[in-house]
Symmetry: C2
Subunit: 330 residues, 2 copies
Amino acid sequence: MATISDVVKRSGISKATVSRVINNHPHVSKEKREKVLAAMKELSYTPNPTARRMRGQLNTTVGLVVHRVVNPYFSYLMDAIERKAAEHNIRVIFFQSKEDKQKEFEFLDLLKQKQVDGMILTTVANSVEDIRPYLEYGPIVFCNEYLRIDDVPIVRISEEDAAFTGVTHLLEEGYRNIAYCTGGLFADEGKDRDRNTGFRKAMEAKQLSINPEWVFIDQHSIEDGRTVMKKITEMDNKPDAIFTGSDEVAAGMTIAAREYGVKIPEDLAVLGFDDQPLCLLTSPQLSTIHQPIEEMGSLAAELIIKLFKGEKLEQLEYELPIKLVKREST
Amino acid sequence: MATISDVVKRSGISKATVSRVINNHPHVSKEKREKVLAAMKELSYTPNPTARRMRGQLNTTVGLVVHRVVNPYFSYLMDAIERKAAEHNIRVIFFQSKEDKQKEFEFLDLLKQKQVDGMILTTVANSVEDIRPYLEYGPIVFCNEYLRIDDVPIVRISEEDAAFTGVTHLLEEGYRNIAYCTGGLFADEGKDRDRNTGFRKAMEAKQLSINPEWVFIDQHSIEDGRTVMKKITEMDNKPDAIFTGSDEVAAGMTIAAREYGVKIPEDLAVLGFDDQPLCLLTSPQLSTIHQPIEEMGSLAAELIIKLFKGEKLEQLEYELPIKLVKREST
DNA sequence: TTGTATGCGTTATCAT
DNA sequence: ATGATAACGCATACAA
C-alpha cells in the first residue's frame, strides 16, 4: 500500500500540503492540488485508516450489540443498521452478548480503546450506572431498550401502546377471557412494565379483570409456546384468546394446537408480536403486532452517524408506531 | 485511558522494559517485572490496539462477508463464527454483499488497509482472478462456496452427495416422477454443478430419466415456492415428488398447497434443504437435508484464527457431512 | 500558500 | 538486563 510519503516523493510536494489536499483543506494552490491528486491516482493511494485513528481523526466503525443473531428480530435490525451504515461507509463490528454482563463490558471496552467510535445497543444486560461511564469515550444509541440515560438517544416502540392495541383487538373480536404471555415478569417495574400496563389498561377499559392463572411469564421460544398450549389444554377454566408477546411463542402454540386438536382461532385465538416471516408459515397464519424494525435500525444508524459528525440531535426519544396485522389466528 | 508512558511515570521504569513486560518478553528481572505489573494494575492500563496495529503487530479483527443477515442460513453461520471468534478475543466486522461485485471489492479493501486481518467469505460474487490479489494482504477462508483457489482453505458440504442423498431418499420412498429445483442454473458448470450432478447420478442409478419440464431454476424465496407449486398444479403431467434445494422454497410450496388443495406428501412429496427452524413450523413439517452450519462456521473461524497465529494448515479442503432428516413432507 | 517539526501509543533496534 | 531512540502513517501547530 502506498503511503503519504510515496505521494510526497512522486509529486515533489511536502507532506503537509499533500495532507491538506487529502482532507480538502483550503489554501492550496490549484496547481499543486492537481499535481498531488495526480500522484495519488497514479499510486492508487488510500489513507491508512489505522494511522488516522491514531491521530484521533477517524470515525468509521460502530459497535453493535445484539442478543443473538439467529433471532430474526435482531437479524432484521442488523440488516437495517448495516445497510444504512454501509451507505455512509461506516463499518459494523457486531457482538452477541446473550445478556451476559461481563461480556457486555468487554465489548463496551472497545469504545474505551477506540476500536469503535460509537455503539448501538439493541439489548443491554447491565444497569444504567454501569453503562454511563462509557459515554465519556464515545456516543451510544439505544435501540429497543427500556433503559433511560439522559443524553443517550433511544429508538423504540411504545410497548404500552403495542400491548393495548393488541389486547383491544382481541376484545373487539369478541374474546373476553384473555390470557397474557410475557418474555419478562408481570411486574410493575423493569423492562416489561410498559407492556404490562398496556394490557391492564385495555382490560380495564372493558371493565374486565385479569385472571392470574392466565398470565405466563418468562416465555420466549417455540418450545415455550408448546408448553403454554399444553398447560392451557389442561385447565378447567380455559381462556378463549391469548396475547403472546412473541411470534415464536405463538408459533409454538400453533404446532401444539395441531397435536392436541385445539382449533385456532375457534377454540383459542392467538396473537403474536413482531411480525416475523414465520407468521406466514404457521397454520393458521398468525395475527400479530408489526414492529417497524427496518425503520428502527435505520434510524438508530442515522443517529449514531450524526453523532460521529458532531451534529446535535434535536430529539433524544424516538417512539416509532406499531401496527396491528390481522391474519387467521384471531 | 492510561498509556504506556503513564506506566513509565508510575513505575519509574523505561518504556522499553515496560513494553517487554507487556509482551512477556524474557530478559526482565523479576523485580522490575513486578513493579511494572503493579503500575499497570493501578492504572488499569490496557495496550492501545490501534497503536499496536500501526506497528503491524495485531491480529484481532476478521471481516465476514455474507449475502444477507436475514437469511437464516447466514445468520446461523454468523452466530457460529462470532462465538468461536469471541472465545479467542477476535472481533468480527460483518458486511452484506448482496452478491454485488463492486461492494465486495470495497469490503475486501479493508484487508489492504489492514482494517481487518483476515476474511471469511461465505458468498463471493467476483471471480477467482479478482479475489486472488487480496491474498497478498492477509489470509482468506472460504465457507460454503464453490470457488477454488490454491492455498485458500475452504469449508463446505459435498453438494453432490447432498443432492444424491436427497433424491435417493425420494426414490426409496417410492416416488418416481421427481421434479428438481435449484437456486442457480441447471448447467454443467458453475456453482450448482455438483448439486446437479448428484441429482443426475441418483436418477441414473434407478435408470430414470429427467423430465426437463420439471426442472425449475433460479428459485430462492418463499414466494418462488408458491409460484412453483402453482405451476405444478397447472401441469397435465405432474411430478409426484420434488427436491427443492431450499427450505424457503419448500415452505412456500406448503403454503400454496393449502390454497390449491394439494396434499403433501400424498399428492406431492416435498424435500427441503438446510434444515432451518421453519421446517418445524410448516404444515406438514418439512423433510430436509441437514447442513452442519454450526460446524462449518466454527471450523471456518478456527482456520482463520490459526492463520492469524501463523500456523500452517494441514489441510485445505474440509468437506463436512450432511444428513437426511425425514419429517412429514416426504 | 507552503513546509518543517512534532506527536499519537506502540514495538524493535541498538547500544550500554 | 536495561534504556534511549527510531519508526509505523498521518494531521497539525507553528514558522516562513
